[in-house]
C-alpha cells in the first residue's frame, strides 16, 4: 500500500496510508475544505476519567495542503536491510579529508551513520523531508 507524505501549508508533514490516489484525494479534499472553511480538524473526543493534567491544546484547526508526495513503501524503510556499494561510503569519508588526507574520526563516524538516515533536510518548507524516491501527486487543492 503506498504511503503519502502530506505537506501542509504551515510546513508540517504527515504520513498517511491510502489504498490509492482516489482515496487520498477524497481524504485530503475533505481536510482541505475544512481549512478553507475555518473548520476544526480535531476528531471526535471522548473525555477520559483516567486522564488528568494533560498539557497543550486538545483541538486544532484544519490546515491547507500545499504538496503531496507518494512513496511505494513507508519512507522510514529507506535502506533498512539494504546493501550499498562500499565506494559510496568511501566517497562520504573522502569528502571529509583535509589537505593532509586526515579525517576527524568522530565526524567520519557520524557521516557514515547519516548514509542510512531516511531523512534529508528540505530546501524549502514544502519539499519532501525523505530520502526515498517518490513522485508528486497532482494536487491543486480540489
Amino acid at each position: 500500500m503506498p504511503i503519502y507524505e502530506v505537506v501542509y501549508e504551515s510546513g508540517s508533514h504527515a504520513l498517511a496510508s491510502y489504498a490509492d490516489d482516489e482515496e487520498a484525494r477524497a481524504a485530503l479534499t475533505a481536510h482541505h475544505e475544512r481549512a478553507v472553511s475555518g473548520v476544526s480538524a480535531t476528531p471526535a473526543s471522548t473525555e477520559r476519567n483516567d486522564v488528568t493534567g494533560v498539557p497543550g491544546p486538545t483541538s486544532w484547526p484544519a490546515e491547507r495542503i500545499a504538496k503531496v508526495y507518494v512513496f511505494e513503501t513507508h519512507p522510514a524503510n529507506y535502506r533498512v536491510g539494504e546493501q550499498v556499494p562500499a565506494d559510496e561510503i568511501d566517497v562520504v569519508i573522502n569528502s571529509l579529508k583535509d589537505s593532509d588526507g586526515l579525517v576527524n574520526a568522530q565526524e567520519a563516524a557520524a557521516a557514515v551513520r547519516t548514509t542510512s538516515s531516511p531523512f534529508i533536510t528540505p530546501e524549502n518548507p514544502h519539499d519532501s523531508m525523505y530520502a526515498m524516491d517518490h513522485t508528486e501527486l497532482d494536487w491543486s487543492g480540489e
Partner: protein
C-alpha cells in the same frame, strides 16, 4: 496523564550507551504510533500485538488504515526534519532530569474510520509495520480520539530521563 518507559529503552541505556552493544542498537529513525490501549493497562514488558489481552499494545488502523500510518521522528536535533529539540536539565533531585521535546507530529488526514479506531495513547516505537516493532515509551492522549474522514491528530512527545 500516565506515561511509561518500556524495557527496551532501559536496555538501550545498559547495553548500547554503556556497553556499545552491536545487537541492542537504536533504530535509524524513531516512529510514533497511536494505540487503543491506555497506559494504565501497559507494563514495562508490553509488546505490540493485534491480540487485545493482558498488557499487549494494540495499534489503531491495523485492520483498515483509512489514512493511518506511523509518523517519523529523525534521530537529530533541530534540523529541518521532524526531530528533537535542544534538551534541558532540571536539577530537582526527586523529579528532575534531562528532557527533550520532539517537533509536533501530525497523523492523517484520515479517509474514514480506521479499524480499530479510538486512540488512547501514543507510543514511541520503531519500524513501520503496524502492531510490530520495539516499544520505547508511551503517554496517554488527552481524550479518546475517534477518527473520521478529514480528521487529523497532533502529538508532541517529551522524554524526561531522571
Amino acid at each position: 496523564m500516565a506515561v511509561i518507559a518500556f524495557q527496551r529503552l532501559s536496555q538501550l541505556v545498559t547495553d548500547y550507551v554503556l556497553g556499545a552493544s552491536g545487537t541492542i542498537t537504536p533504530p535509524s529513525a524513531w516512529t510514533m504510533g497511536l494505540s487503543t490501549t491506555a497506559v494504565a493497562t501497559m507494563a514495562r514488558a508490553s509488546i505490540w500485538s493485534a491480540t487485545v489481552t493482558g498488557t499487549n499494545i494494540n495499534e489503531i488502523g491495523s485492520t483498515t488504515a483509512s489514512g493511518y500510518a506511523r509518523q517519523t521522528i529523525a534521530k537529530s536535533i533541530n534540523t529541518g526534519s521532524i526531530d528533537w529539540g535542544t534538551s534541558t536539565f532540571d536539577s530537582t533531585l526527586s523529579t528532575g532530569g534531562q528532557s527533550s521535546t520532539a517537533d509536533q507530529v501530525t497523523f492523517g488526514a484520515f479517509s474514514g474510520a480506521p479499524s480499530p479506531n479510538g486512540a488512547n495513547s501514543w507510543v514511541m516505537t520503531d519500524g513501520t509495520t503496524l502492531n510490530a516493532g520495539q516499544v520505547y515509551f508511551a503517554g496517554d492522549t488527552a481524550a479518546t480520539r475517534t477518527f473520521a474522514n478529514g480528521d487529523t491528530e497532533k502529538v508532541t512527545a517529551t522524554l524526561k530521563a531522571g
